[in-house]
């Protein structure tokens, strides 16, 4: 599991790569945690690009659930984009598709949460 972060306007775009299972969930949590602190209101929003995630187990879902609860508590915004079919299925079974806003592409997510970030993304 690996996370690559790009700051685009008021959005932290976190590209997650690989497997999020019981052996990597802690690393995923640690990678996500620093970006959670500033995720409040309009100042900073989080977008998780899941196009590179090939596997997620309940350990990974647990990390996402904690992050979602924290976001709501601090009035933050975290959305996901580009889930592979096998990840979509896990989200449907666990009803995580009702916990998060999920977009088909990174571009679509940026357009929805920050037009400024979408414009900056197009210009890169």
């Amino acid at each position: 599991m690996e996370c690559k972060v790009r700051e685009i306007a008021n959005v932290s775009l976190i590209q997650v790569l690989g497997r999020i299972d019981h052996t990597t969930a802690k690393a995923f949590e640690d990678a996500l945690s620093p970006h959670m602190a500033g995720c409040t209101g309009e100042d900073k929003k989080l977008l998780l690009d899941f196009s590179g995630v090939t596997f997620i187990s309940s350990a990974g879902l647990r990390v996402l659930m904690i992050a979602a609860k924290r976001c709501r508590k601090q009035n933050g915004k975290m959305v996901l984009a580009a889930l592979q079919p096998v990840i979509q299925e896990v989200f449907q079974i666990s009803r995580f598709d009702t916990v998060f806003e999920i977009f088909p592409t990174v571009r679509a997510a940026l357009e929805a949460i920050s037009p400024a970030a979408a414009s900056a993304y197009d210009g890169q």
Binding site: S57, R72, V86, V99
Partner: protein, 148 residues
């Protein structure tokens, strides 16, 4: 015929015995992935079976052994051209994963339970699941069908 600690080749059953600890997850998922691929399962379905194996093993470690040392045997049997049987055998305390209460998935985020998603995932991703206690052994038998 049984192949021990190896994926199926020309035999119908393969068996892997590992310490019942979370650190064994990768070894078990790789084992089942090899069995599933050899049985003709597509990659997406193979990933689902890896997920099932991880969830079951983690629960056995947590509830059957309660973090005490022990072993778990994982058997993978191709019964016909369409079905694969996964059997999880341990000698821990009596533990039936199928009786664990599922979390309520229909409630609002504030009320959603953080964990407990392993069992709903296992139930959704296999075709049949049965548990029996034989002597001092827990035996969980999961049947999965090759996608059409």
């Amino acid at each position: 015929m049984t192949a021990s600690n190896g994926a199926m080749s020309t035999t119908n059953t393969a068996s892997l015995t590992v310490p019942a600890q979370v650190e064994s997850v990768t070894q078990c998922t790789e084992f089942v992935a090899a069995c599933a691929m050899a049985a003709g399962f597509p990659l997406a379905r193979t990933h689902e079976l890896e997920l099932v194996v991880e969830e079951v093993l983690v629960n056995i470690c947590k509830y059957a052994y309660v973090d005490a040392p022990g072993e778990m045997e994982l058997r993978c049997t191709k019964t016909d051209s369409q079905h694969l049987i996964l059997e999880f055998i341990d000698t821990g305390k009596p533990f039936n994963i199928l009786t664990l209460p599922p979390p309520d998935l229909a409630v609002d985020l504030d009320q959603r339970q953080v964990g407990g998603l392993g069992v709903p995932l296992v139930r959704a991703l296999v075709d049949t699941a049965t548990y029996r206690r034989e002597g001092n052994r827990n035996i969980l038998r999961l049947s999965v069908q090759l996608p059409c």
